[in-house]
Symmetry: C2
């Protein structure tokens, strides 16, 4: 390692001499060229043996696999192609231990669908590990189904995901790492906000803030369960302790189960969620958020839930978890 | 709000027309000027009424004060000017509830120092709130003192800080917000790493990684207690359950109490710490890390502690918490 450092120092000395010569002869272009070449060299060899860390690079490159792993709870509804595509993708994620498909149709999944999905999971994992795939069958079509307690979940961490949202495995495992350090929080990719609207007189009134308002202000107070990690204990809490009136409201309006879950977790922890930076790829058609009047509906949910909870439990925050491997500024 | 949106749309239409005219007449400079002016306008009015969110901007600007707050545990040693400067600075942080100065000198603090510090705290808080200031007196000069259990700490959150390190209050409260969502983790500003060094034969051997290696790889496994939040329960654990041999090693070598604390928390949680982006201002002379042989000493500590714990509890991670108000890229 000392030899490498010495070689580096000699290199730096040479570079200095070259730079001085270039400036003296006013050959600025040559200097610029040198700078560019040097930068490319440095950037190109980041985390390599350029800095003399050859011996330790193993522990950097091989980002350790999550020890305990996580379960995927995937909400789906009559979109078998999306379901196949999604399961196929997530099956190859290293930390995944089991997949639970929330099924809300009167007819159970067909044999051919079950066979296909089991085959896909097996082929993706190449027999190296066993990922359990199961259906959580519900006769009633209610959005509350996605938060029903599932007995087969062995891990504490649950990754709740819609069937039409794809994240690279690296992003999922990064979010899992964040969740490991914050196991009581909701940790997700899709932040949303609530704003106090003072135009409604003396009574506290809240407005739902979508993507645009979060981007603009950098502030959020929820992460949506369409792509979020949380402790499986919240499934039990949602199933057993969420006020029946809220669950009925969710079923009837076919909306806002994610806001209800955000209320539940914030109420239990007294803390905000954590937003993880990650690029979402929506496959298939866009969801209910693209329909007209979406914001108004969500605003109605917010104020209804505040009335039910007797207070606003959500807490605004501005924390974003980013990968320090791709963020160079200290 | 609809009126504002309509006005915005009209503005966008005008801007489009102007852009088309500019391109048609090949007046690229005018187009560029328009772009710059538009960008300045948009950036300058971020979170203002430009987007029609006037009513909700209050909840954005007034970042809510931490409800429960935190205690500062400040380690100091015969640097009274630094201590005064530091206490004076942190006293004005909104979430601060109490200050505990870890005193490790044979003589107790002088009356004049006590008076000065109490006066500073009172004047900084302007009587609006009561911050309790106390000394934790230790006769023995040991680095373990900084992690002694302190009975007067009322908050769960402790901000452990050296007397020569200054962070703006906004950074401290931001880190506190991160800690609120991850109350079992160490949440700090100064990340460090351990690397597996395979050149030492079959036996697992570790090397300490300083600032430079963390910056280069984006990976870390500790945050130093010179500037970190953690739950006060870890003070109890350090005092009562840290192996005596490790505490003796720390006292004798006058080093590595922070590595020992990182081992303790990682061992208890099975999770990595969280690094918060923040600019550290060192006042006064630099610490022991600038002395010769620092890395070698820290490497020795690492391997000694691994032997005592019977395993390496530290987990590498690449999570960095940044403020989404100043990070615009989704």
């Amino acid at each position: 390692m000392r030899g490498t450092l010495l070689a580096n120092r000699r290199g730096v000395q040479r570079f200095r001499q070259l730079a001085i010569t270039a400036v003296k002869s006013s050959n600025i272009k040559l200097l610029l060229l040198c700078c560019i070449a040097f930068t490319v060299l440095v950037v190109g060899t980041r985390a390599s043996d350029f800095m003399g860390w050859t011996n330790y690079s193993d522990s950097v490159d091989q980002f350790p696999l999550p020890e305990k792993g996580y379960a995927i709870v995937m909400n789906t509804w009559k979109r078998y192609d999306l379901l196949k595509q999604s399961i196929s993708h997530y099956s190859s994620c290293a930390g995944l231990k089991s997949i639970h498909i929330v099924w809300s149709e009167p007819n159970p999944p067909s044999n051919s669908l079950s066979k296909f999905l089991n085959h896909v999971v097996e082929s993706k994992t190449k027999g190296l590990k066993k990922i359990k795939l199961s259906f959580d069958i519900n006769k009633e079509d209610s959005l509350n189904n996605r938060f029903k307690e599932i007995s087969g979940v062995k891990t504490d961490a649950v990754f709740s995901i819609d069937d039409d949202v794809i994240f690279p495995c690296s992003s999922v495992e990064f979010a899992f790492k964040v969740w490991q350090s914050a196991p009581d929080a909701m940790v997700g990719f899709v932040p949303r906000a609530h704003w106090v609207d003072k135009s409604h007189g003396k009574k506290e009134y809240y407005t739902y803030g979508g993507w645009w308002s979060v981007w603009w202000t950098g502030t959020y107070s929820m992460v949506l369960s369409k792509a979020a990690f949380f402790n499986k204990k919240y499934l039990r809490l949602y199933t057993n302790e969420m006020p029946a009136s809220i669950k009925e409201f969710v079923t009837k309006n076919r909306n806002c189960e994610d806001i209800a879950m955000s209320f539940l977790v914030a109420n239990a922890t007294g803390a905000p969620p954590i937003w993880v930076k990650g690029k979402l790829h929506e496959i298939g058609s866009t969801g209910i958020s693209s329909l007209g009047g979406h914001s108004e509906k969500r605003t109605r949910c917010l104020n209804r839930f505040v009335a039910e909870f007797g207070r606003m439990p959500l807490l605004p925050t501005t924390v974003k978890a980013v990968d320090s491997r791709i963020s160079w500024f200290w």
